[in-house]
């Protein structure tokens, strides 16, 4: 549905008027922002008369894209998570209004404050934007440490799945099912799955995890970090999984030697996180979750490729991801070899 069509725009203005407790709302600008394979983001500039939000407000409307992923949460849950982490002092766009029903624009959405910066990973990693990579990485480690202080006991969020007794098994089981049932042979993935099954670490106390913490999912401007985005994969889990996902080869955007998000070496990021969180990272656990991260991305790459090959979605980016599994396979072999040598 086109959000900028006349009738939809008028319903959206009425919704904003009610939600903001305003006298009148005039939508000045409404256009879709780049990126977002799973969610759509729209820039929404509104002139608001009366109420707590009176004035010209620069906002972002977030809603489901045409293709939704099964692992991704609904907008109401994402809104609740973003409210929680914003309240806890994690730097995210402040979420303002949730519309859980589909009568306004045809699907649920929420509205948050616009934040400056770009998310383009290749530009941040190349140093075109975002300032010093070392400073950026340190700040990201601090944000992550703050997020990981949230616990299911005190910080329950409706809509989030209850924490699993064993985060590793909860992550691994669906990945293993996918590989076994894919209909094509993936021997290195199977090798990784066996290793992950046989080396499961003792479960950690669950904390709130971002679930897709990586370069490409935060905003940075000329001065540096501005906000953490994309909370639709958040859930209770093992904090080392977020740290490992950040170090996945694909999220280095070609800067393969800077393992942590293409910004700094892995050890530097670990140190920054340890300083911020006061928790020492066990290298064996971090490595375990890096094997899991490689397997998870391997499965996502196959799913994306299948959206083209089997689902008929015409996108070169999806198609190219069909050639990504080999990178994950290299990491699975290398990391499991390292671990076996260390044992």
């Amino acid at each position: 549905m086109a959000l900028d069509a006349g009738a939809t725009r008028a319903r959206l203005a009425r919704f904003l008027c009610d939600a903001a407790g305003a006298r009148a709302v005039d939508i000045v600008e409404l256009r879709q922002l780049a990126g977002g394979a799973v969610q759509e983001n729209w820039l929404l500039v509104a002139q608001i008369a009366g109420g707590a939000f009176a004035g010209r407000q620069k906002l972002v409307l977030r809603t489901d894209a045409a293709t939704s992923l099964s692992m991704s949460s609904d907008r109401a849950t994402e809104f609740a998570v973003q409210r929680l982490v914003h309240g806890a002092g994690v730097t995210v766009p402040e979420p303002l209004f949730l519309c859980p029903d589909a009568t306004v624009i045809g699907k649920p959405f929420f509205v948050m404050r616009w934040m400056p910066g770009v998310a383009a990973g290749e530009r941040i990693v190349a140093g075109e934007i975002g300032g010093s990579r070392a400073v950026l990485a340190e700040r990201l480690a601090q944000e992550l440490a703050k997020l990981h202080q949230l616990r299911p006991t005190g910080d329950a969020v409706g809509g989030l799945a209850a924490p699993s007794d064993d985060a590793a098994e909860a992550r691994l089981a669906p990945l293993a099912r996918f590989i076994a049932g894919h209909g094509e042979p993936h021997p290195v993935a199977e090798w990784g799955i066996r290793w992950l099954r046989r080396h499961r670490p003792p479960p950690a106390a669950p904390v709130l995890c971002h679930g897709d913490f990586r370069t490409g999912n935060y905003l940075a401007d000329e001065a540096g970090f501005t906000a953490l985005l994309d909370w639709d994969f958040a859930g209770w889990g093992d904090p080392d999984e977020d740290i490992a996902w950040f170090c996945l080869g694909y999220w280095r955007f070609g800067a393969y030697q800077r393992e942590a998000g293409g910004l700094v070496p892995r050890a530097a990021f670990h140190r920054a996180y340890e300083t911020a969180s006061g928790r020492a990272i066990d290298p064996a656990r971090a490595r375990y979750w890096e094997v899991m991260a490689a397997l998870r991305w391997l499965v996502i790459a196959l799913e994306q490729r299948d959206r083209f090959l089997k689902g008929g979605e015409r996108s070169l980016k999806l198609l190219l991801n069909g050639r990504r599994p080999a990178e994950c396979e290299l990491e699975i072999l290398r990391l499991t070899d390292q671990a076996d040598e260390a044992a």
């Binding site: 780049a34 383009a120 290749e122 530009r123 076994a180 042979p185 993936h186 021997p187 290195v188 199977e190 090798w191 799955i193 066996r194 046989r198 080869g249 070609g254 393969y256 030697q257 070169l316 980016k317 198609l319 190219l320 050639r323 990504r324 080999a326 990178e327 396979e329 290299l330 072999l333 290398r334 070899d337």
Partner: protein, 131 residues
């Protein structure tokens, strides 16, 4: 017969023109698409240059371990055996499987992403195919 230039030369020049001349004229937010197109062309060019030799080598290595069969059959047999836990514990077979998996992975990356291989210090694999 074919007239010159050959397909490899055409792809090579077309890719250089796309990246060197066309891409800089695109708005910043669309340059990544040109990079994707160039990447697809580079993979196709490397695959064409390699021909069937890597697949034949892979099949032969699998046959040595698992007996005769075509490549797909042997890969399925290997995947099923790994899933069943046949290579969980140290053994000469496990070492052989591990070397084979390394060799196949390195061969795939030579075509799909040689930069990744080089950054991993594996662009010159040793004779047994493992680092």
């Amino acid at each position: 017969m074919r007239d010159r230039p050959d397909g490899a030369a055409l792809l090579d020049f077309a890719r250089a023109a796309l990246l060197g001349e066309l891409a800089p004229l695109l708005p910043a937010e669309r340059r990544q698409e040109a990079a994707h197109i160039a990447r697809a062309m580079a993979i196709a060019a490397r695959e064409a240059a390699a021909g069937d030799a890597p697949l034949r080598a892979c099949r032969a290595a699998l046959a040595e371990l698992l007996g005769e069969g075509d490549l797909d059959t042997l890969l399925r047999r290997l995947a099923a055996a790994i899933r069943a836990g046949d290579y969980d514990t140290p053994s000469p077979q496990r070492a052989q499987v591990r070397r084979l998996l390394w060799a196949v992975t390195v061969q795939k990356l030579r075509e799909s992403n040689p930069d990744y291989l080089a950054a991993s210090g594996l662009d010159q694999p040793s004779q047994n195919g493992s680092p």
